[in-house]
């Protein structure tokens, strides 16, 4: 499935998602534009609370009320997802796009066994199950998936309830459910936060294998820049509801153009040098209710100037790269 000119599978344009709250309207996602090409892995990193999860919940039509999509478009294989009815969206969600939620425990129903939950999804969405013995085949496939994500003795444990598994095991079960129907696009929201590095590698390799075999595209939302460096082809960095930098992963990590990206890279504790101090970015992300036109990072930015408080758009800063910073080109050197 290697194509010469990869087509765009998912295209998000100027997406805005808002939540009314007592303090005012929170624009959690404010004009986000992103493309995911067929077969590629897009890494999404950014400040906690910057709208990564909300962006992709909006894509699949699962914004939690009272939130709503206030503008923009989401096209998936040429279809406008924001215009679909709830029933049509449900069909897209199971079969073509799968999303593993960040809250693994809450996304699993505590009253049903793991078997019931995976088999239900398979029966609802897997088209290629044989007519005779559907249930048995679905169960067999569910056991296989659990084994693939590294759950030991899956035949026995498939009958257990979610609370009987450890945090990391629940996370892997979520991934198994998402991958069970072989979606074209997998949105993995922090799929490996609760996993140790060896199993994390195993799960990410599994996802990478499916990418190669099925040409599946992946959106990998994570905080782990190491994971992004290893698995993502392209990278998007989000801050306070906006994309502040995009580009090929290596290029962004090697020469970040946005000061926030640089700050992120500086805050990583490195195993290779335990004495190196961790340098957190000073201050806090702005309140989304009152975020104005200007650069949202300006108040924490070491290189902010007066012009930063005027409207700032993404500017080209190299082949396939863009950054939302007026001084991006100065730092290119």
């Amino acid at each position: 499935m290697i194509e010469t000119a990869p087509e765009t599978l998912l295209s998000i344009k100027e997406l805005r998602t808002c939540f009314p709250t007592r303090a005012g309207l929170v624009t959690a996602v404010d004009g986000v534009s992103l493309d995911v090409r067929a077969g590629e892995c897009l890494g999404v990193v950014g400040e906690s609370g910057s709208g990564k999860s909300v962006t992709f919940s909006s894509v699949i039509g699962l914004v939690r009320r009272p939130g709503y999509i206030a503008g923009g478009s989401v096209t998936f294989r040429g279809r406008e997802l924001t215009a679909l009815s709830p029933a049509e969206l449900r069909a897209v969600r199971g079969r073509e796009i799968a999303m593993t939620m960040q809250d693994a425990l809450t996304a699993l129903n505590p009253a049903l066994t793991i078997e019931e939950q995976i088999v239900e999804v398979l029966l609802a969405h897997a088209v290629d199950l044989p007519r005779a013995g559907r249930k048995a085949e679905a169960r067999r496939r569910a056991v296989d998936m659990l084994r693939l994500v590294g759950i030991a003795s899956p035949e026995t444990r498939i009958g257990d309830y979610p609370h009987q598994f450890s945090g990391g095991m629940r996370q892997r079960i979520m991934i198994a459910i998402a991958l069970a129907c072989r979606p074209m696009l997998l949105i993995a929201d922090e799929p490996t936060t609760a996993l140790d590095v060896t199993i994390q590698a195993q799960v990410l390799e599994l996802i990478a294998d499916l990418r190669r075999q099925l040409g599946m595209s992946v959106v990998l939302i994570t905080h782990d820049l190491g994971v992004v460096a290893e698995y993502a082809d392209r990278l998007a960095v989000m801050y306070a509801g906006q994309v502040v930098e995009t580009g090929p992963t290596r290029a962004v990590l090697d020469s970040p153009r946005h000061p926030y990206t640089r700050g992120l890279l500086g805050s990583i504790p490195r195993l290779s040098d335990l004495d190196a101090p961790i340098r957190p970015i000073e201050g806090q992300a702005p309140e989304l209710v009152s975020a104005g036109e200007g650069c949202r990072f300006a108040s924490r930015c070491p290189m902010a100037v007066g012009a930063c408080y005027a409207r700032i758009d993404l500017v080209d800063v190299g082949p396939g790269r863009a950054a939302r910073c007026i001084r991006a080109l100065e730092t290119a050197a």
Partner: protein
């Protein structure tokens, strides 16, 4: 911020507490909203019965014996639904009868829910012997047919408003108890309950402060559904003469009174029967709406 909210109602919504979200869903459902309005109207009429009822419900007038409803020949507009065998105004008796039905419905369900919550929480959270003991009692009570159980109790205790409430509560608490126990079992495993234990919260605080607020929605939904059942049960008891004693008006006894004349004077039984039907149906539809609005499993 030039966002155009999807609906103005959403914008005014204020803080998005989970309950508030459910309320919005409920208000968006026209059928349930209409039903809730009907229930409230009946409730208001019952409370203000002396003002609403055109006549004294117990005033007999033998000249008006079995007088037909207003729109039939021989009817009078001031006696809209006609009169019964003693010449009492049926509409007025229905209005006063609503007091009995609603009082018993509310009292029984409120008492039963309070008992059910306490015992269900104890069984589901404490487990062990408490759970075994409570669950056994529940199983045994569930084994009796409800109406026969209530008839037997009424026969023992004698009629009267208070006794009806007691007779029904004896078995009714089992239903909220089972619901609460099931929900509590699921909740006691959650990490936030564990977190409360980790800070040293007592068992009482965990049951009533942490778990109860999370299981209230299904309990309220069940309570409204049961309210309709209890109203029918009370009507059945009164119909059998075991309920509220004459001359107090009760829908069940009114239907019973009209039995003898069902062919010549159908209105005597039919209108109180319709009253039961309308109230029960309205409560059921409204509670269906509540369930849709508050049951997170149905919310997509």
């Amino acid at each position: 911020m030039s966002a155009i909210p999807a609906s103005p109602a959403l914008r005014a919504a204020g803080p998005a507490s989970p309950g508030r979200l459910g309320l919005q869903t409920f208000l968006a459902n026209r059928m349930s909203l209409a039903s809730a309005v009907i229930v409230l109207l009946i409730l208001a009429a019952a409370v203000a019965a002396p003002l609403v009822a055109p006549h004294d419900p117990n005033e007999t007038d033998l000249l008006r014996r079995l007088q037909p409803p207003a729109w039939l020949e021989g009817g009078e507009w001031s006696y809209l639904f006609g009169c019964d065998a003693l010449g009492r105004d049926i509409l007025s008796r229905i209005v006063f009868g609503a007091r009995v039905s609603i009082f018993i419905g509310v009292a029984v369900v409120a008492l039963a829910t309070a008992i059910g919550i306490a015992l269900g929480l104890a069984a589901g959270y404490l487990r062990g012997w408490t759970d075994i003991a409570i669950s056994r009692v529940v199983d045994v009570l569930l084994g009796f047919p409800y109406l026969i159980f209530a008839i037997a109790l009424m026969a023992m205790m004698g009629p009267g408003l208070q006794n009806i409430v007691l007779a029904l509560v004896y078995k009714e608490w089992v239903i909220p108890c089972r619901v609460v126990r099931g929900e509590t079992l699921a909740m006691r495993q959650t990490e936030f309950v564990e977190a409360a234990r980790a800070v040293g919260a007592t068992r009482g605080r965990i049951m009533f402060g942490e778990i109860l607020p999370n299981i209230l929605s299904p309990v309220i939904v069940v309570a409204t559904i049961r309210m309709a059942h209890v109203i029918i049960l009370e009507a059945s008891l009164s119909f059998l003469g075991l309920g509220v004693q004459p001359p107090t008006a009760s829908w069940g006894s009114m239907v019973a009174d009209g039995r003898a004349f069902i062919l010549d004077a159908w209105w005597v039984s039919t209108f109180p029967g319709l009253a039961i039907l309308v109230l029960v149906l309205a409560i059921n539809v409204a509670s269906q709406g509540l369930r849709d609005a508050f049951d997170p499993k149905i919310n997509d």
